[in-house]
């Protein structure tokens, strides 16, 4: 067995919104080069988990470790420098800037030539973005904006990419294509990707799936060991 | 109910200065002055915080009341009571007109329109100097000729209590509850079929009326009004009253008025530093005691009470152990 390096490790994470708790003692881990899927119904706490990892929310209890370093109190910016980038579900581009400017800003902390190379790669992955390079991001269709958001995440050269619900609002055909692309991103770049997804199709590309419901982790399985019944229970209840 | 006691307590506290009626002097005069702005402060509390209408034109409505009274009775020789009432009605009408004309704007722009009006109004008064006296102002005898100082003071205190009591009563009626609903969630109020436009118009009308009557009382009490008295800063200070005092509690404006209009009087020896202290104190209050002084005070009292009770509890403890 080749156990790879542990990139992200979340242990016993508890997050509260005021008096109600959004996450209760959640454990999560991701190895290098893995796609980790967070499956679960709407309102289960997936977005909260991702935002806490990215630093937008503060945990009440628990630890977040990145490459073995504890980052509990790190602000967003410091986490980003360590390689954590969140692709939010909504409002995930700069609407009054062109596509190419969006990508420039995405890699704003990279060197110029690195940035150029990464942008080229993104254009190869999403040819649509290339043809729309000079269009304002806010004027594109929902699917194109979603691609741009992922493109911004890729250009940022993150070592761990947190993508929040990339398939929401996309046509089923687009969803399949998106998942294919994400799979090829993993093959090409070897990035670690944590993906929250309501869409059940996520299990086809993920290496490991965490089932989250009502702020708690219900199961954690490698995809090949995954029993379809568990998934059904997760979404439909027992 | 707790809230009822608070309202009752507030009114009782407001009546207290009646004890000073016989004692004509500086203290009485200052309290009367603070009360004149307390009325405006309560209007701001009602319109700005209870019904959530971003209106900054309190100095305008106040000035309209004051100038209408002074001009109508002074120049056109109307009877005084009629002049005062006309002041209130005119202010009310202008407030409603402002609301009607701004119904297209929302949020911050709306508040800015009334604020710009507050900037413009003293300039308009300056420009109309032949009638209004501009910066030099106009003197107005009015009630000062007919009533004694003490009587005038009693009138100010009495009308403040009346106005505040009226606002408290209004907020406890069904109309008031509707105001609260609109303040908390305008869209929801519309969705459940409330004609929010009508209610808002009513709120502006009431606020303008009280503010205008307060202005009419102002010119009767002080006996003089000029464009400097109703400048932009007047409206800003009036808005400060509920913000500093605590907009969520019914007695907040009293504390606010004490600080906003009594503090400068106490600071006269340090006049040069007044702006710095004034601005600094307000920024500090907003930053450090969010919600204003009244809630802060309440927290302090509760904390002190808890400590006191706990200490008593500690004393009893050994006995219970025995």
């Amino acid at each position: 067995m080749n156990e790879k390096e542990l990139v992200l490790e979340v242990s016993e994470l508890t997050v509260n919104y005021g008096a109600t708790s959004a996450l209760k003692s959640v454990d999560l881990f991701a190895h290098k080069g893995e796609i980790v899927g967070l499956a679960g119904p709407n309102g289960a706490g997936k977005t909260t988990l991702l935002e806490t990892i990215a630093g937008f929310l503060r945990q009440k209890e628990g630890d977040i470790r990145l490459f073995g370093t504890q980052i509990n109190e790190f602000p967003v910016l410091k986490r980003r420098m360590m390689g954590v980038v969140l692709v939010p579900q909504e409002r995930n581009n700069f609407p009054y800037m062109t596509v190419s400017e969006n990508l420039d800003v995405g890699g704003i902390i990279n060197c110029k030539d690195v940035n150029k190379r990464l942008i080229e790669e993104v254009y190869q992955l999403f040819p649509v973005l290339h043809t729309r390079a000079n269009q304002l991001a806010g004027t594109m269709s929902g699917g194109e904006q979603r691609m741009l958001a992922i493109g911004i995440g890729l250009v940022s050269n993150a070592s761990i990419l947190l993508i929040d619900e990339p398939s929401t609002g996309l046509a089923p055909k687009m969803v399949t294509r998106l998942f294919e692309t994400l799979g090829s991103i993993k093959e090409l770049t070897g990035k670690t990707i944590v993906l929250s997804e309501q869409n059940i199709g996520v299990i086809d590309i993920a290496d490991r799936v965490f089932g989250i419901e009502a702020g708690e982790v219900r199961f954690c399985e490698k995809t090949e060991d995954l029993d379809r019944d568990i998934i059904r229970d997760l979404y439909l209840g027992k | 109910m707790n809230d009822h006691y608070k309202k009752l307590g507030t009114l009782l506290a407001l009546i207290l200065p009646f004890a000073l009626i016989g004692k004509v002097g500086y203290a009485q005069w200052v309290i009367g002055y603070v009360y004149l702005f307390l009325i405006q402060g309560y209007v701001a509390w009602f319109l700005f915080f209870r019904t959530n209408q971003p209106f900054f034109g309190y100095s305008v409505t106040m000035a309209l009341g004051a100038y209408s009274t002074a001009i109508l009775t002074g120049i056109y020789e109307w009877p005084l009571v009629l002049g005062i009432l006309a002041g209130g009605v005119i202010a009310s009408a202008v407030a409603m007109l402002l609301f009607l004309s701004t119904s297209r704007a929302r949020g911050f722009y709306l508040s800015m329109i009334s604020f710009l009006l507050a900037i413009m109004f003293p300039m308009l008064i300056d420009a109309l100097r032949p009638i209004t006296g501009g910066r030099n102002g106009i003197y107005f005898r009015g009630l000062r000729d007919m009533w004694s100082r003490g009587g005038l003071f009693a009138l100010i205190v009495g009308s403040t209590v009346l106005a505040v009591a009226f606002l408290f009563w209004l907020m406890s009626t069904k109309t008031g509850k509707t105001f609260t609903l609109i303040a908390e969630n305008d869209d929801l109020a519309q969705a459940v079929g409330i004609n929010t436009f009508k209610y808002k118009l009513l709120a502006y009308g009431i606020a303008g009326l009280i503010s205008g009557l307060g202005g009419a009382l102002y010119v009767n009490y002080i006996g003089f009004i000029s464009s400097i008295d109703v400048g932009v800063f007047t409206t800003t200070y009036i808005t400060f009253i509920p913000i500093v005092g605590g907009s969520q509690l019914c007695y907040g404006p009293i504390l606010g008025a004490l600080i906003v209009f009594l503090l400068p009087d106490l600071l006269v020896p340090m006049e040069r530093f007044m702006d710095i202290i004034f601005g600094g104190v307000f920024v500090a209050i907003i930053l450090l005691i969010p919600g204003g002084i009244a809630p802060g005070l309440e927290r302090l009292v509760k904390w002190a009470y808890k400590r006191l009770v706990r200490r008593r509890h500690d004393c009893i403890k050994p006995e219970t152990q025995l």
Partner: protein
Amino acid sequence: MNLDAGITGIIMGGVLSLPVLGIAVIYGMTGITNFAIGTIGVFCAFMTWTFFSYGTVVGILVGLATSFVIGYVIQWFLLTPLSEKGGDSTLFFIVTICIGLVFTGLTRVLFPRPNISLLLPRMGTVRILGVTTSGLKIFAFFFALSVLFLIRLSEKHTNIGKSWRATSQNLKLAKTVGIDTQHVFAWASSIGCMLSFSGAVFWAALYNVSLMSGWDLTFLGFIIAVVGGIGNIWGGMLSALLMGMVMSYSGHILGGMWQSVVLYFIVILVLIISPRGILGSERSL
């Protein structure tokens, strides 16, 4: 005669557009309308006046540095924490007016005179279309114009400018791609204060500046920004020129007393008819 008023108006608009740009920059970036900006500018102009005896350049540099530091500190320690706590426009309105009060007070306490004027070189006289005006006024006008172009160019073509736009358009994403938004805010505030300071300096050179001029500068700057669409730099410039003309002509026709009344009246009308200003605002309020 009329042409004279027109040119005076344009130049007045040019000078006025500096604080307007300041307000537009701060608002566009941070979403905060800063009502302290004029008094800060005037405070720094007084600073320049104090150091003027060491040379014009020294004085102006001291003023620029002071305005930069003040803008930075206020944004960093006061306004950004407040906005992260979820302050709304009304709260910022109040807080920035209080800050303005503090600076009026500081100007009163720290400087020996309540009224100053700065003796900048007059730069000769220029004749345009038969109207004679001083070179300094022309310089003030072109200074404002070039600052506007500089801001626009840097927004479009430099990384710093792009990060500014990114921050104003989507704060959360800007943070997540690694833009130090707190610095961006502080810089915006600094630039705003420096612009307001340069407005105050020109004002002090062309007319004179007193303790309360700061408020005039703020309010004029604000209403002009409102007419142009707050945060919209082009709109601000255009409306500054328009409003300069309005002030000039109304003063010409109705007399000085009515100048401001007409101005504010027009602004209120514009707000009532088209609440987002003549060119609209990118940010929604």
